[in-house]
């Protein structure tokens, strides 16, 4: 058995930064767009690095690093159109970036200030879902809504929409993910299941989740599965673009398995040295998504020193903004939580809020705050 499925892996850019042709998938991006992807990759990694540092300094409770998975996230994220909708796990910081979510908003969740401070209606990027795989059903239901809105298969590029559901290799063992596959299949829902197989579910390797390459599972559910080099941003973009278009055209779901590797810990609370082999990490370092695109761009003369200098400065500026923004993030007011439970407030919760406010004010000894 082989889980790397190397025979069928779609790759358009080798780890050495050389372009490859593929009989089905091709990169239709111009040089400017490819430079844009490089910028996305670099900035995404910088956001991740800064967030990890903030956690180490006690400013975040926890952080789930996406180190090594930037190409899978940027390649797929940049394949989305404005009207498409994405349902992430808690690790899709690169996709969030593509959807225009302020990275500072991501930090709010990990700092414990809120549970997702961005507006999914504005960004078409749903809140992070922490229960593994639950969001694949949300994505499928959302896609059913798109069908009912008549926004599939009209041929109008501005109107037809699709949904992408992100999840990992561990999630493929969840019932919800398998149910989502069935629903999307029999209802022909316009959804792309984008699995980042980073080969680890905290400490459990791929072998504990599946005896066959994950993309092959799709066949049993009745829709196509594609395995793509998850560290190749061009291939991830091409494969996702095709899968999304297929969905928008009304041809139903696709499973994309982006074969990659989790270069960091599961989260900052994890210690991967207890289960990961150093040799594996060294092996995957050679496949780094950013290094290979940089090699390609430099070798082809597509970027100059000035571009890299500017990008480094932009990167520093984002890091600084994140750091300052994180440190100055106001703590939430506990009295607000009573108002956020229901759309239509209940009398009993309003009373509970009132009672707790009165309790709090009983400690206030200032003249204005003296208890009534």
């Amino acid at each position: 058995m082989s889980n790397d499925g190397s025979d069928s892996l779609v790759q358009l850019l080798t780890p050495e930064g050389e372009r490859r042709e593929h009989p089905v998938y091709r990169c239709d991006l111009d040089d400017q767009a490819i430079r844009g992807l490089y910028r996305d990759l670099v900035l995404t990694r910088r956001i991740d690095t800064e967030a990890t540092a903030l956690q180490r300094q006690g400013e975040l409770g926890i952080w789930a690093s996406n180190l090594g998975q930037e190409a899978a996230q940027i390649g797929s994220g940049r394949a989305l159109r404005g009207q498409d909708h994405a349902f992430p796990t808690y690790r899709e910081h690169g996709v969030a970036w593509c959807r225009g979510v302020d990275p500072l908003r991501l930090l709010g969740l990990f700092r414990g200030v809120d549970q997702g401070g961005w507006d999914p209606r504005e960004t078409n990027f749903h809140l992070y879902t922490i229960v593994i795989g639950a969001q694949t059903l949300h994505a499928t239901g959302y896609a059913m809504g798109i069908q009912r809105d008549g926004a599939v298969g009209t041929g109008d590029a501005e109107r037809d929409a699709a949904v992408v559901a992100y999840f990992g290799d561990g999630a493929t063992s969840q019932g919800d993910v398998n149910e989502a596959f069935i629903w999307a299949s029999v209802l022909n829902a316009p959804v792309v299941f984008f699995c980042q197989n980073n080969q680890w579910a905290i400490s459990e390797p791929m072998e504990r989740q599946s005896r066959i390459p994950l993309f092959q599972r799709a066949q049993g559910f009745g829709f196509p599965g594609v395995q793509v080099d998850g560290n190749d941003v061009l291939a991830c973009h091409a494969v996702t673009t095709a899968a999304l278009q297929r969905a928008r055209d009304g041809q139903g779901p696709t499973l994309v398995e982006a074969f990659t590797y989790r270069m960091g810990a599961h989260t900052t609370s994890d210690d991967p040295t207890r289960y990961q082999l150093r040799e594996d990490l060294e092996h995957w370092k050679l496949k780094d998504p950013i290094a290979r695109l940089k090699a390609y761009l430099i070798r082809g003369g597509l970027i100059e020193e000035a571009f890299l200098t500017e990008l480094a400065a932009e990167s520093d500026a984002i890091a600084q903004r994140l750091r300052e923004g994180c440190l100055s993030m106001p703590d939430p007011d506990v009295l607000d939580i009573f108002d956020q439970v229901y759309a239509e407030q209940t009398t009993e919760l309003a009373q509970q809020k009132e009672q707790y406010a009165a309790y709090l004010s009983s400690f206030d000894t200032s003249p204005e705050g003296a208890p009534a």
């Binding site: 997702g116 999914p120 059903l137 949300h138 809105d149 029999v186």
Partner: protein, 324 residues
């Protein structure tokens, strides 16, 4: 005024809601061509089409999980869980996703989802078909929980639940599906989250909801024959509770018996007893007593008449309350 069974009153209510709002969808197992195993959705797919009355794959988590996505897209899904005991595969989606979405989005995302569950026993069914899971949902912040007890409430409450922007667990007393009553489709209904005195009395208050309202009323009539005046309150809403009518009744009678089919341990009766003792301690002449299912799994149906509270067990509790 039309005479309708409780099941048919629900059908009428669902039809009204679907006519009023094109975003209302019905989804569940066998709800389309068959009209549901209890025929509550009978004829709706024929009239509203397969896109609005969806026969789903046989997967309860899938029903609720996709309902979340549909709600996020602007739809108002009404999910049918075929039987109470089959709601648990959807428990994670209900408790972790549906219930929390409004909260975790800081109020940006509403979940106007109705989860219809035929609940309770008394129909001679095999296991997993007679359960009363209401306390589990009432215990979950973010959900609202209601139970109808008669055809008129069934007709109105299902429409009100669908119109609510919050997720509502809508409990239907399955053993009362076939009971008929006049339904006035023109009279303005009481608010969804309100409790109601359904029989006035002065000696003991009996609190009930869903299938036990009828049992409580029968007990009140029997008690009346022995010159004990029992007031019956149909709670109707279990989360939030509507305590005002309950407390008004307690202050009048000083004695309370709570009746439900669900097991007594940590059931609705426990919450009601606590709230009553906190709010009306000095009005009480006796401890709040509870009559419910035993703290066992629901038994084989040959024993269910003994497991379920009946007229005699309610009267026994009324007598015990009066003995203090």
């Amino acid at each position: 005024m039309t005479q309708l069974t409780l099941a048919k009153a629900l059908t009428h209510g669902l039809r009204k809601a679907m006519e009023a709002d094109p975003k209302v969808l019905i989804m569940g197992e066998d709800v389309g061509k068959l009209g549901g195993v209890f025929r509550v959705t009978d004829g709706l797919q024929k009239d509203f089409g397969e896109d609005r009355v969806i026969d789903t794959p046989l997967a309860e988590s899938g029903i609720l999980g996709t309902a979340v996505g549909l709600a996020l897209r602007g739809y108002r899904p009404v999910c049918e869980i075929q039987f109470d005991g089959f709601v648990y595969p959807a428990y994670d989606q209900i408790v972790s996703q549906v219930a929390k979405m409004h909260f975790r989005s800081l109020g940006k995302l509403a979940m106007p989802i109705v989860i219809r569950i035929p609940f309770g026993g008394g129909i001679g069914a095999v296991e997993h078909h007679s359960e009363s899971p209401e306390a589990q949902f009432a215990h979950t912040a973010g959900l609202k929980v209601v139970a109808c007890a008669n055809p008129t409430d069934a007709y109105w409450m299902v429409q009100q639940a669908i119109a609510s922007d919050d997720p509502v667990v809508f409990l239907e007393p399955k053993r009362r599906y076939w009971e008929k009553a006049d339904v006035d489709e023109s009279a303005a209904p009481a608010p969804l989250h309100s409790s109601r005195v359904v029989r006035e009395g002065t000696d003991v208050t009996v609190l009930a909801y869903g299938p036990m309202v009828k049992t409580a009323l029968e007990a009140a009539i029997a008690a009346g024959e022995e010159r004990t005046s029992v007031e019956v309150v149909d709670l109707r809403t279990l989360s939030p509770l509507d305590m005002d009518p309950v407390l008004a009744s307690v202050r009048k009678t000083g004695r309370v018996v709570v009746v439900h089919e669900a097991v007594v341990n940590l059931g609705m009766g426990a919450e009601l007893a606590a709230r009553i003792s906190e709010a009306a301690f000095y009005a009480l002449e006796a401890p709040v007593l509870r009559v419910g299912g035993f703290d066992t799994p629901y038994p084989p149906s040959r024993m269910e008449e003994e497991y379920l509270p009946d007229l005699d067990r309610v009267l026994d509790a009324v007598d015990r309350a009066l003995a203090y």
